[in-house]
């Protein structure tokens, strides 16, 4: 049985259809990449799945349960965690405290939450930064903190929204290690939105492509990269017409 099943999901904002009739499923322990040009509806799809946007129509089944109409926090408690593209840290929570907030989802005890947070930070090579305020950290470290906090909640499925955007290649290496650790060592199913192709193509078992709110491709990374529909979405119709010989 699939861990996550999305059936004919449609999300309209006024007259704009951000997601149109999208269906797919994610198997247990799979790592699925979600790509597409800007404005394709990737983040909207994540927002719908994680309960931040109500869907216009369609169904979302997680772990055998219909979660379509649940609130964000209820979905999180069922084991579906997510990160955000932009981490707007305005306050004063330290790195460790942020991860502890995640851990508090599974325990009432501060001692247990703290111990678990320290463990996760060690895995993420963030133990030294435990007492720093998140807002003082560089972007790359902030993104890893949000991943660590999401992991603290003990998820079955983790949705990562552009964790590598704007990072240097060294930082991308580091994040890739973290993602592999989450996926392979911890056995957590992962779905990630990413523009950094080097990362998506390397880590994903399967890649899905959105364009103008529709799913246009779904398959092994190598196959998707060659798909004319996908190339058209990224580079435009004209490019495909003019370079037919290279593409085939």
């Amino acid at each position: 049985m699939a861990l996550l099943e999305v059936l004919n999901l449609t999300k309209n904002f006024g007259g704009l259809s951000a997601n149109q009739d999208i269906s797919f499923s994610v198997q247990k322990e799979e790592l699925v990449g979600l790509i597409g040009p800007n404005g394709a509806g990737k983040t909207t799809l994540f927002n719908c799945i994680s309960g931040f946007h109500p869907v216009s129509s369609g169904k979302i089944i997680f772990n055998g349960e219909d979660i379509t109409s649940l609130n964000a926090h209820e979905i999180a408690r069922r084991g579906l965690a997510r990160t955000f593209q932009i981490y707007a840290a305005s306050g004063d929570l330290t790195v460790k405290e942020n991860v502890m907030v995640g851990c508090f989802m599974r325990t009432r005890s501060r001692g247990k939450a703290e111990a678990r947070a320290e463990e996760i930070l060690k895995d993420f090579n963030l133990a030294d930064l435990g007492d720093a305020a998140v807002s003082e950290l560089p972007v790359a470290a902030q993104k890893r903190v949000t991943m660590a906090a999401a992991l603290g909640s003990g998820p079955k499925l983790l949705l990562l929204d552009e964790v590598a955007a704007g990072l240097t290649s060294n930082e991308i290496e580091e994040i890739m290690k973290n993602i592999r650790h989450i996926h392979i060592d911890m056995g957590i199913t992962v779905m990630l939105i990413e523009h950094v192709m080097e990362l998506v193509m390397k880590v994903s078992d399967r890649v899905m492509v959105l364009d103008y709110g529709r799913k246009i491709a779904d398959g092994a990374p190598r196959m998707v990269a060659k798909d004319p529909e996908v190339i058209k979405a990224y580079l435009g119709e004209r490019f495909v017409q003019e370079h037919k010989e290279i593409l085939i």
Partner: protein, 335 residues
């Protein structure tokens, strides 16, 4: 058990804080024995009362970042419950106080449920509105004395009457409110390290992130609002027995709500010591301003002008108040 231990655990504060806090605690314990004027005693009791109001405000307003400008309505509920029960049915303070808390918390759920659908300034304005509505209701409600208010006449009771909390000498009131003050500090110290405390700080930081970590943001705010309410209502009940003469205007007016919020913000919202520091600065200031400038020099309302200046200074210079400045200096030293 863990919670109780954590309430008594101040080990995450620097040693300096603990020694200063200890010295202040000893001073507060010894104050009535030291030579003092009646005016100083009254000011100290006011300081302790407003510190506790501030501690309550600080849970939802400081740690939770929800600026609440309607705390006075709960002062009123506590004060009126205690006064009405004592005058009409001779029910003593130690019964009426918990009952007042129940009424106040029930009211806080009723208005908190819709109010927490609002955010930021809208929330703040709505809290003012509910408080003013309640004050107007009490001003016309004959059962509670309408605009005349209620008066507890002390001659009817033997003094000291610990059961009804009716004393002739202020020293008794002082020690009662001082013990509430210490209990309040212990409670908030435990609260800030509890699961709810962390969740609330996460909500203040980033609500979406908090929701994604399984926090029921709406419910966490309502719960904390109820805690803040209980603090305020307890002191409200004390206020009734101590002042003995309560009117809608001097328990539930906007001035009091603003003073409570202002003190916590001046001292440092979201820190354990903040509300106490704020009260220590503002209450003597308020008393002396009224006594000297207001009455003597005919400058009534001067205290309000000064509050306004303080609000402007905090929001422009250091939103985290006096305690924010202390922490900034410390961080700079560490580097």
């Amino acid at each position: 058990m863990e919670t109780l231990k954590s309430a008594f655990d101040f080990s995450d504060f620097p040693r300096l804080d603990i020694s200063v806090a200890g010295t202040v605690a000893i001073f507060l314990l010894l104050f009535p024995i030291l030579p003092h004027s009646a005016f100083a005693m009254a000011t100290m009791i006011q300081f302790l009362m407003f510190s506790i109001y501030g501690m309550g405000w600080n849970t939802i307003g400081g740690y939770g970042g929800q600026v609440d400008l309607g705390k006075a309505q709960y002062v009123g509920i506590g004060a009126y419950t205690t006064a009405v029960l004592l005058i009409r049915w001779d029910i003593p303070f130690w019964f009426s106080m918990p009952l007042g808390v129940c009424f106040a918390v029930a009211w806080s759920f009723i208005i908190g449920y819709p109010l927490f659908r609002l955010k930021g300034h809208y929330f703040a304005i709505a809290t003012i509105a509910t408080s003013l509505v309640l004050m107007d209701l009490f001003s016309v409600w004959e059962f509670v004395g309408a605009a005349r208010g209620l008066e507890i006449s002390p001659i009817k009771y033997p003094s000291p009457d610990f059961w009804r909390l009716i004393f002739k000498k202020d020293i008794y009131y002082y020690y009662v409110i001082l013990s509430f003050f210490f209990l309040g500090i212990l409670y908030v110290n435990g609260f800030r390290k509890s699961r709810l405390g962390y969740q609330l700080r996460s909500i203040r930081d980033n609500e979406d992130m908090a929701r994604s970590l399984g926090i029921n943001v709406h419910w966490a705010k309502i719960k904390t609002y109820a805690i803040a309410t209980a603090f305020v209502s307890i002191v409200g009940s004390f206020h009734a027995c101590y002042i003995k003469n309560i009117e809608p205007e001097d328990t539930m007016s906007l001035d009091i709500s603003i003073l409570i919020a202002l003190m916590a913000m001046l001292g440092g919202a979201g820190s354990l010591w903040g509300p106490i520091i704020g009260a220590a600065v503002l209450i003597p200031l308020k008393s002396y301003l009224k006594e000297w400038l207001g009455a003597a020099a005919g400058l009534a309302g001067i205290d309000l002008v000064i509050y306004a200046v303080i609000i402007m200074l905090i929001s422009a210079l250091e939103p985290r108040g006096i305690w924010g400045i202390v922490e900034k200096v410390r961080r700079r030293k560490r580097r």
